[in-house]
C-alpha cells in the first residue's frame, strides 16, 4: 500500500496510511502514516468497537495537520492488550496463509450464487 500512497501523493492528492506493520512502512516509506500496534487484520481497530475505530481513524486523519516531515510516522498510543502475548502467539501459530488458487474464494457459498446471478460485475476491475 505504501507504493500506492507514494503514487497518489505524487499525483497531487495527500494521503495518510494506517499501519500495523512498522518495519514494512519504514521500508516502503509512504508520505504519512499512523502506526497501530495491533495484530494483523485489525488495522483500523477492534471488532464491534465503533468508538475505538472512530478514535483510531480520526488520529490517522489528524496526521495531515501534525506531520510535517515526509516519511514521518505517528505512533498511536493504543495497546491491543495489557501484555504483548499476542505477538508471541502470532509467531507460534505459524503459517496461516491459504493455498494459492485462481478461482474466487468467497466468504460463503451464498456470495458465489449472488455473484453468478449478478452476471457481469462493472464494479470489479480486473487489472
Amino acid at each position: 500500500m505504501g507504493l500506492i500512497a507514494r503514487r497518489v501523493e505524487a499525483d497531487g492528492i495527500p494521503t495518510t496510511s494506517l499501519t500495523s506493520a512498522l518495519s514494512i512502512t519504514r521500508s516502503v516509506n509512504p508520505p504519512r502514516a499512523a502506526f497501530l500496534d495491533y495484530p494483523l487484520g485489525h488495522t483500523a481497530g477492534k471488532a464491534k468497537d465503533p468508538v475505538l475505530q472512530r478514535e483510531i481513524v480520526a488520529a490517522a486523519l489528524a496526521t495531515v495537520d501534525e506531520l510535517e516531515q515526509p516519511g514521518a510516522v505517528k505512533m498511536l498510543p493504543h495497546h491491543w492488550s495489557r501484555d504483548d502475548d499476542w505477538k508471541r502467539e502470532a509467531m507460534l501459530n505459524g503459517d496461516t496463509r491459504s493455498h494459492r488458487s485462481s478461482s474466487p474464494e468467497y466468504q460463503c457459498e451464498a456470495d458465489r450464487a449472488l455473484a453468478a446471478a449478478a452476471g457481469d460485475c462493472p464494479t470489479c476491475i480486473f487489472l
Binding site: M1, T15, T19, A44, P50, D65, R97, P104, C124
Partner: protein, 153 residues
Amino acid sequence: MRTRDLYSSLGHDPYRWVRNDDSPPWTELVKPLRECRVGLVGSGGVYRAGQVAFHHRDDSSLRVIDTSVPVSELRTSHFAYDQTDARTDPNVVFPLDALHALAAEGVIGELSSRAYAFMGGIYSARRVRDVLAPEISRRLAEDQVDLALLVPV
C-alpha cells in the same frame, strides 16, 4: 522486524518489500480537514455481496465499493491474515462507519461516494507500481477527493 522474522521462521523466502530510502513525495493539504472529501482505499480483501471475490494467486484486481453500502453486505477474501474479526466487523480493515461518523460530526467534510478495495500481499511490486497504483490514483482524482486514507492489511 516482527513480520520479517515470522516469514523467516516459517521457512519462506523473506517477503522482500520495497525499500525506498529517498524522501517520499509530498502534497500539502490545501484546505481544512473539516472541508475535505476523503477517499478510502483498503487492502483487506473486502468485496460486497454480489461482487466477484478475490482469488488467492496474485490477484491485483480492484473492487469499487459504494460507501453507502450497509457494512453487513461487506465480505472479506484474503490469503494472508486471520479474517475472523474482519468478517465479524469489516470496519476493522475497511473503516466505513468511522468515516461516516467523522463526516456527521464535521471532523471531515464528507466521505467520497466510492471506496476501493483490493487484496494486499501482491508479490509483484512492479505490478502494484505500474498497474494498480496508477489506476487507484486516477480514480481518486476522478472522485475529486482532497485526501485519501489508506488502510493496508
